[in-house]
C-alpha cells in the first residue's frame, strides 16, 4: 500500500467515526449529557482556555507526567541494565521483582498520599511506577540479547575493560530494545496520569472528575482528546529521535 493511500484511509477512518458520533449524538436518541456531539468541542475548548483552566490543567499534568517519566525511565533502565550485567544482582532481585511487579500503580495511591501528601510528588510517584517496570524488564531483555560474538570482537581488538565493553558494545547493542521500552513507557505514563490526579491533585484528571460531577460531559471529552493529543505529539517526537539514533538499522 502506498503511503498516500495509507494516510487517506487513516484519515477516512477517523472522519467517518466523528461523523457517525455526531449523527448519533444529534439524532435525539441519546441525551446530550450522556454523549455530547464532537462539534461542541471547539466551543468547549474556547471557554476552558478562555478561563485559563485548560492551560493550567495541561501544564500541571505535563509536570507530573514528565517527572514520573524521567524518574521511572532512568531508574528502570539503569537498574535493568545492572540486573542483566551482574548475576549476583540478577539473583537478588528475582523474588523481589516477582513480589512487586504484579502490584498495579494505582494500588500505590494510599501510600503515595501517606508518604507525600496530596502533592505533585505523589502524582509523579504513581506515574513513575508503571513506567519503571516497563523499562526495567525491557532493559534486562535488551542487554541479555546483545550479541556475545560482538563482545568477543571488541575484546579481540583491545577493548578489555568492563566500561569499554559497556560503552562500545553493550549499550549500543541494547539500544533498540531500551528505546522500545522507553516508548512503551511514554504511553503507559499518560494512562496513569488521570488516575494519579483523581484524589485531588490539580491536573487533567481532577478537572475531568469535577466536570463529570457537573454532568459537563463535553468538558470530559475535551480533556480525553487533550490527552490523546499530548500522547500523539510526545510519541511522534520520540519516534523522530529514535529513528535518528537507530539510523543504522534497516
Amino acid at each position: 500500500m502506498s503511503p498516500a493511500k495509507r494516510y487517506f484511509l487513516s484519515a477516512t477512518g477517523l472522519t467517518a467515526f466523528l461523523i457517525f458520533w455526531e449523527t448519533v449524538a444529534r439524532s435525539g436518541l441519546i441525551e446530550p449529557h450522556l454523549l455530547p456531539p464532537p462539534s461542541t468541542l471547539p466551543a468547549t475548548l474556547a471557554s476552558e482556555a478562555g478561563l485559563g483552566i485548560w492551560q493550567a490543567m495541561v501544564w500541571a499534568s505535563l509536570r507530573h507526567y514528565t517527572i514520573g517519566l524521567l524518574v521511572g525511565s532512568i531508574l528502570g533502565v539503569s537498574l535493568g541494565v545492572c540486573v542483566a550485567l551482574f548475576p549476583m544482582v540478577e539473583a537478588s532481585q528475582a523474588w523481589l521483582a516477582r513480589v512487586f511487579r504484579p502490584i498495579p500503580p494505582l494500588a500505590w495511591i494510599p501510600f503515595a498520599i501517606i508518604w507525600f501528601g496530596i502533592s505533585e510528588t505523589a502524582a509523579a510517584f504513581i506515574i513513575s511506577i508503571g513506567i519503571f517496570w516497563i523499562n526495567y524488564f525491557t532493559s534486562i531483555a535488551a542487554v541479555q540479547a546483545v550479541d556475545k560474538d560482538l563482545i568477543e570482537v571488541a575484546r579481540a581488538f583491545g577493548h578489555r575493560s568492563f566500561f569499554a565493553l559497556l560503552r562500545k558494545v553493550i549499550l549500543p547493542g541494547a539500544a533498540p530494545g531500551i528505546l522500545s521500552g522507553l516508548r512503551a513507557g511514554l504511553g503507559q505514563g499518560w494512562m496513569t496520569v488521570v488516575a494519579a490526579e483523581l484524589f485531588g491533585i490539580p491536573g487533567i484528571g481532577q478537572r475531568m472528575i469535577e466536570a463529570s460531577g457537573l454532568l459537563a460531559s463535553e468538558v470530559v471529552v475535551l480533556y480525553m482528546f487533550s490527552i490523546a493529543l499530548l500522547y500523539g505529539v510526545s510519541d511522534y517526537i520520540f519516534v523522530r529521535v529514535q529513528d535518528r539514533i537507530l539510523e543504522w538499522q534497516r
Binding site: 550479541d147 560474538d149 560482538l150 568477543e152 570482537v153 571488541a154 575484546r155 579481540a156 581488538f157 583491545g158 577493548h159 569499554a164 562500545k168 558494545v169 549500543p172 547493542g173 539500544a175 539510523e247 543504522w248 538499522q249 534497516r250
Partner: protein, 251 residues
C-alpha cells in the same frame, strides 16, 4: 627465519577438566601462511582464540614474538561471521582496534583509506554494515584486522559462509594482501582445497585429545595450484589424512 607464534605443550579446557586439545606445539614463522584443517571439534577455532588471548591456556604456554610498537597490535583476528558492529559505519568499524592504540586522528583516516583500498572497497567508509553484501562485510572484517597493522593475522574460517565465486575471489585477494604486507597468517578452514591453495604449510588437527596428527608442506607455486593435477593430488593426500584422523577418533 624467526618464529612469531609458538605454542608449547598447549592445552585448553572449558570446564577445567577435559581438555579440548592437549600438548599442542604449533610454530608459525615470520611471513609464513599456515592453514589448519581438522576433525570438527578438534579445537581449531579454540587454538586461534587462545593465541589471541581471548581465552586462557589450561596448560602450556603461547608465546608471540614480534617487535612491540604502541601504534599497532601484534595480533588481529578475522572472524567467521564478519561480526561488524551494526551501529558503526564502515569506517568506524575499521578503526575499532585503533581506539585503544596510540594513533592520531589523521593516521586513523589514513589507515581507513589504505585498508579499504587493499580490500577493494574504496569509498565505502560512510556506509552502514546492513548496506553491504556478505562478501563485502567479510572484506571489511579483513580491513578492520589490517588497520591495526598487525604482524600476525588469525583467520577463523573467514570465507566459510560465502558462495563459491565470492570465496575464490577473496582467497586471491588475501594472497595478494599477504604478499603486499608480509603478514604472518594462521588460517583455520574446513575446506581442504582452500587450505592447500592458500597455505605454505597445512596442519591437520585430530581430536580426542586434539593434537597435530600431520603436517604437509605445500611446495607448488601458487600460480600452478588452482585446478592443476599436482594440486589435486596434494588435496587428495590431505583428504586421506583427514579421513584417517576421523576414523582414528571414531574408534
Amino acid at each position: 627465519m624467526a618464529t612469531v607464534i609458538h605454542t608449547k605443550d598447549l592445552a585448553v579446557s572449558f570446564d577445567g577438566h577435559t581438555p579440548v586439545f592437549e600438548g599442542l606445539n604449533v610454530a608459525v614463522e615470520r611471513g609464513e601462511f599456515v592453514t589448519v584443517v581438522g576433525v570438527s571439534g578438534a579445537g581449531k577455532s579454540t587454538l586461534l582464540r587462545v593465541i589471541a588471548d581471548l581465552i586462557p591456556p589450561f596448560r602450556g604456554s603461547v608465546s608471540v614474538d614480534v617487535p612491540s610498537d604502541s601504534s599497532k597490535r601484534p595480533i588481529a583476528m578475522v572472524f567467521q561471521a564478519a561480526n561488524l558492529m551494526p551501529w558503526r559505519r564502515v569506517a568506524n568499524n575499521i578503526t575499532l582496534g585503533l581506539e585503544e592504540l596510540d594513533v592520531s586522528a589523521a593516521l586513523k583516516r589514513k589507515r581507513v583509506d589504505w585498508t579499504l583500498n587493499l580490500v577493494g572497497l574504496e569509498g565505502y567508509g560512510d556506509r552502514w554494515p546492513y548496506q553491504l553484501s556478505g562478501g563485502q562485510r567479510q572484506r571489511i572484517g579483513i580491513a578492520r584486522a589490517l588497520a591495526v597493522n598487525p604482524d600476525i593475522l588469525l583467520m577463523d574460517e573467514p570465507f566459510g559462509a560465502l558462495d563459491a565465486i565470492t570465496r575464490t575471489g577473496l582467497q586471491d585477494e588475501l594472497l595478494h594482501i599477504w604478499k603486499e604486507t608480509g603478514k604472518s597468517i594462521l588460517f583455520v578452514t574446513h575446506d581442504i582445497e582452500e587450505a592447500v591453495y592458500l597455505g605454505d604449510r597445512v596442519l591437520l588437527l585430530g581430536d580426542r585429545p586434539g593434537r597435530i596428527v600431520e603436517e604437509y608442506k605445500i611446495k607448488l607455486s601458487r600460480k600452478s595450484r588452482r585446478g592443476g593435477a599436482a594440486f589435486l593430488a596434494q588435496v587428495e593426500r590431505v583428504k586421506k589424512g583427514l579421513q584417517a584422523a576421523i576414523t582414528a577418533s571414531a574408534v
